[in-house]
Subunit: 699 residues, 2 copies
């Protein structure tokens, strides 16, 4: 569930300390000399100042996946005593850092300081998007410029600041939240779609005004739209050198530092050298000398590297250039890259400081190279720099996107295995819910915590693949719902609970939603659940020729709801990575047009839903793998594909209106439940197995 394609959620403001574990309670007061000594003893830095800078980055990264971060950032691994000192020092250092994020409106002094900075630079305005330069789903605290300036922490939005007026543009999900979190005297709230920023810009600025934008934070197309809007006002859109917010944000967090570790061939299934060779060959065929990669999951896939710079997605924030000879240049904070990682990369991958990325682009241009980049994901800075230095530009889709989406047999075997372990945790969780919740006292947040405890010990588990959604009763109807202290509620008899969760395992990424009734559901709940289930089963059972796109599968998930005058306002399926992003392209199953044909090996979610505002939400989600039909029907003329369902957890039989199902649907569900029992039983204790036997009995 979720993700950009679905407009359900996106980057949330990450509390940099959220996952941080302090190993020692003693907090010392270190002198400069102590810091220097600790640096020397740790082998992690040359000086105390360097060690503190390293810690700034460590603090800025979640480290749930990395265990003791020092064992991977120090070379050689320090002894236990030094590790203790490092953790103490980290705790002390962290306590001194206050990036200045607020609950509620940010101090208006920040806006005033920004305006002074703009005046100093001769700018009449500045545009602040929500994303960072990697354009990914999660934004590190350092790039949380919009939340720092305004207090708004929604996943999408744009702020335009003028010298007198400012406005914040948010979509329909956030029109209420923005008024709670933002000083609306300072920032006029506007609807992103109905009153887009372009119109406000055209109205607000005067002829001749210079409006700044940070070319690292906008795509070419985005910048072109802003340029057009500025032009309508007779104003001019100008690039800034250095983001003006960074200039006035005194305790801006550092860029996150987490170990960049090799992703084992036993999980990746193909060496980086082989991947690079294939891509390089088609680059050369297309007459290009190099391709610039700015999507961090593409880089992770290509180099077989994983990091933990942001929560939930095992990414190392960095840039890369793949050359037509198969060599690569990786632009990354060198402190993340341990000796073993460097060794695993081999000689054909050169590691460069991330600050040298722009210079490298300029060099490509100066050498007259033909360079490709993806206009959908690369910052316009990349195109501008290459063009300005004389490169011949090619605009093409990120060449990693499609091969990354088409999993190899090792990745598929891995994800099947990960899904079995994940299902075992999920089954234990729903047994616990069934036994505990009807008695009262279980809240959404408690359920989330319980699920995390059950998933945590799983083999190869590293993190959740996104923040679990647990929506009970009316909260289930809020599609982008995240439980918080304020919204948390007790699960109640006669209500539905929607739980959407997933895990990051070294061998695969999971994403699963089940909706269960607490006690006895109403007839309407059962009817609606069964309609959603019919759509879900229609997708699961679909057979279709090669060439079919997700747009053509999407109506199958909706037809049963449509016939009753119902629908759901999100996509039916998104791509899923292999120990990578839980939302990836280029394939999807959605109403919106997709030109990407489904190909064997692609992983997608199958997750229709139904949401009754103020009452309940229903969503049923399995991951599926696009597969060739092994035994095509007699007379088949086209190559046939189908979906292999890899998520294995029972549907709530208490919610299934069997009278509404036809024989084919019934037999599919019965066969699926039999498979769940057969495949997951080995992972269960006898009591849970007995429970599962009942839950998966023939309908």
């Amino acid at each position: 569930m979720g993700g950009r394609h679905f407009f359900l959620r996106g980057p949330g403001r990450e509390d940099p300390a959220r996952h941080f574990i302090v190993r020692d309670d003693r907090v010392m007061n270190l002198s400069d000399k102590d810091w220097d000594e600790l640096a020397q003893d740790s082998g992690a830095a040359e000086s105390g100042a360097e060690l503190r800078a390293l810690m700034d980055g460590v603090i800025a990264a979640p480290n749930a996946r990395t265990g003791d971060v020092w064992t991977q950032l120090c070379d050689p691994v320090p002894d236990a005593a030094v590790l203790g000192r490092l953790n103490n020092a980290l705790a002390q250092h962290r306590a001194a850092v206050d990036p200045g994020f607020t609950q509620g409106p940010a101090p208006v002094s920040r806006l005033a300081a920004l305006r002074e900075e703009l005046k100093r630079r001769g700018l009449a305005g500045f545009i602040i998007p929500r994303n960072d330069e990697y354009m990914g789903e999660y934004v590190p605290a350092r790039a949380d410029r919009l939340p720092w300036l305004t207090g708004f922490d929604g996943s999408a939005g744009t702020v335009v600041v003028g010298l007198e007026k400012a406005a914040i543009f948010v979509d329909g999900r956030y029109t209420i939240q923005v008024r709670d979190q933002v000083d609306t005297e300072a920032f006029e709230p506007r609807h992103l779609i109905e009153e887009p920023a372009a119109g406000w810009i055209a109205e607000t600025f005067e002829a001749g005004a210079k409006i700044g934008f940070d070319p690292w934070l906008h795509t070419q197309a985005g910048a072109a739209r802003l340029k057009q809007a500025a032009k309508r006002a007779g104003a001019e859109l100008v690039r800034v050198e250095g983001n003006p917010i960074d200039a006035v944000w005194s305790q801006q967090p550092a860029a996150p530092i987490s170990p960049a570790v090799p992703h084992d061939l036993a999980f990746a299934g193909e060496s980086s050298a082989d991947k690079r060779r294939k891509l390089a060959d088609s680059l050369a065929e297309d007459g290009a000398d190099a391709v610039v990669l700015t999507a961090t999951d593409s880089i992770a896939w290509l180099l077989n590297i994983r990091g933990s710079d942001v929560p939930n997605c095992p990414l190392s924030l960095s840039f890369a250039i793949l050359n037509a000879d198969g060599s690569a240049d990786w632009f990354v904070d060198g402190r993340k890259v341990t000796t073993s990682t460097r060794n695993s990369l081999g000689n054909a991958v050169a590691v460069h400081p991330i600050e040298s990325f722009s210079d490298a682009l300029t060099k490509l241009g100066a050498a007259g190279k033909t360079v490709s980049a993806d206009p959908a994901s690369a910052p316009c800075h990349v195109f501008d720099t290459l063009k300005a230095s004389g490169a011949t530009m090619r605009q093409a889709e990120d060449p990693c996107a499609l091969p990354k989406a088409i999993k190899n047999s090792v990745e598929l075997a891995g994800t099947r295995s990960a899904h079995r372990r994940d299902a075992a945790a999920l089954i234990r969780f729903f047994k616990w819910i069934e036994e505990t919740a009807p008695g009262g006292g279980v809240t959404e947040l408690q359920a989330i915590a319980k699920l995390r405890t059950l998933r945590g010990p799983g083999e190869h588990y590293r993190d959740d693949s996104f923040d679990t959604i647990a929506g009970s009763g009316p909260n289930g109807a809020i599609v982008h719902y995240r439980a918080s202290e304020t919204t948390d509620r007790e699960l109640q008899q006669g209500e539905l609970l929607l739980v959407d969760s997933g895990g990051q395992y070294l061998d695969g990424t999971t994403d699963v939603t089940r909706t269960v009734a607490i006690g006895e559901p109403s007839a309407e709940m059962r009817e609606r659940y069964t309609l959603v289930l019919k759509g879900h089963v229609a997708v699961a059972r679909a057979r279709f020729p090669k060439g079919v796109t997700g747009s053509q599968i999407d109506p199958m998930a909706r037809a049963p709801l449509w016939a009753r005058g119902l629908d759901f306002d999100h996509g039916t399926g998104h791509g899923v990575g292999s120990y990578l992003n839980v939302h990836e392209g280029p394939q999807r199953i959605a109403k919106s047009h997709s030109a990407v044909a489904l190909e064997p090996g692609m992983i997608l979610s199958n997750e229709p839903g139904y949401y009754k505002t103020g009452a309940y939400g229903i969503r049923i989600e399995n991951l599926v793998v696009v597969s060739e039909v092994q035994t095509p029907p007699a007379g088949a003329e086209r190559e046939l594909l189908e979906f292999e369902t890899i998520t294995l957890a029972p549907y709530d039989r208490n919610l299934i209106g069997t009278a509404m199902l036809d024989a084919d649907e019934m037999s599919w569900i019965n066969a699926y439940h039999a498979r769940v029992l057969a495949e997951i039983s080995p992972f269960l204790d006898p009591e849970t197995r007995d429970w599962l036997v009942k839950k998966t009995a023939t309908l």
Copy 2:
């Protein structure tokens, strides 16, 4: 069926004499004086020369719909003696005309003459598309430049002529035909998609070469692609003034002249003044002063005018400008416009000579007007002329397209009525087939002729809406098949016959396909027919919320075939006009992306198929009207739409594998058959009614 959206057929070469009826056998040899006298007596022209020019146009138009053309082109209507003299003179004049169309390769002398003309103009090449300046489905003989030059009469293709080499580009349907019809020494055949003209242009021409194109015959986008191709060769694409083929085609037919007659309000349902007012209001709202209309069906709809300048579509070839005050300027050969038509148009529609169209565009520009035109259908000449003269251009979809597609209640009542009369003819036809064909001796062409005789006497019938497709046995599997003397074959026992046909009635346009078995079909035929029928019924029964597009309906028609590894390579449905084009947009049901939501009042075809090469073809086609669901299901939350099926002819029960149908499908078919019987019986003789009772009995 058919049409551009489907890539099944398109403009065929129209034999200008095909529908022409000579009323008198005596062919006189008229002197110039006789001609002058006849002109005077007829009231149709001032002089014999003018009368002959008028006859050139009459000869160039099909006149199946118009009966005696002179009663509408002469004012006042001449007496019977003069009518006889006119028809005699027409026959004499016609005999003297030879436009030079060939069966098989055209004389290469034409290519030589064209090259001389190009040299004279300083051109190194010239590009000849298949279409005319109206970009419609049917091209009048005058614009059949490509067939005249090459001999190729397929519906799509492009010729590029250089001074040394020439090539003809055709799509997959015509790769064999082109070698039969064209001198391949003179014109190298190329595959339009796999070896597009752009590549050949880039390879063939030298730097500095000037390649001509006729700006009336290309859209802006098309011209831009050619420009790009020329640029790759270092050559230049240049506009020609006057088509060079016209300069060397000695007996080029005239532009067709047929009466432009008012389309009665009793059929149109809305006056032209009201239509113009609504469009003008939104023009004014958008800040535009005028919109240029070049799509002839849009003009016919807007002015409530019909003509017969081309076969099958009741169009008057012309251009128009709609002004923001609701007035219109119509650019049309004045000889087509009778006094009664002028009266029906009223004062707000000014009739201008078609030759003055370009000047009118220039005047709009010179007056600094803001003018809109449709880049998808308007020749680039329109944009170039407006821009060059200083107009502010707006590119926008033809504003008639959507309101024309959404039929009003009068049009819907009319088409329902037309469909009942059409069904009566069709039922008589299939009774005849069943009784006659199994005995042998009935050929495809005979079947086509029989159907025309049965449809002909229908009230308000004016013409067929396209050339009937009757494909028996293996011919049925050729999707764009048209029977000819060479391909004609006898219907045989155990074979399928696919008949796709339609009528133009004053109150509606029909398009229907039925596939029937001659004698006993094979089990496979029955299985495949039933799969197609299941998809057809799925569309017919579909309910879906407002906002759904045809792309989202399309998979419903294919799912039963897909599940067996089968599919069909054309769209599922096209829009249909109201006594207008049998293929119209903007809506469609197809795999390809459509952004146009289905709206109540739109007429579409529902025509899945299956084609087994070398064996048989199956297609089942009804027209449907998008309608609001009158009694939505309890709890419906979205506005629901469905399809009302308006074609009423039985399916061949001999081909229905009832065991493959579920209860809902069976009951839909039974209810449909009951409706056919109830609604069409009143139009049938007792014997045919008895036959229909058997054919529509409960399955």
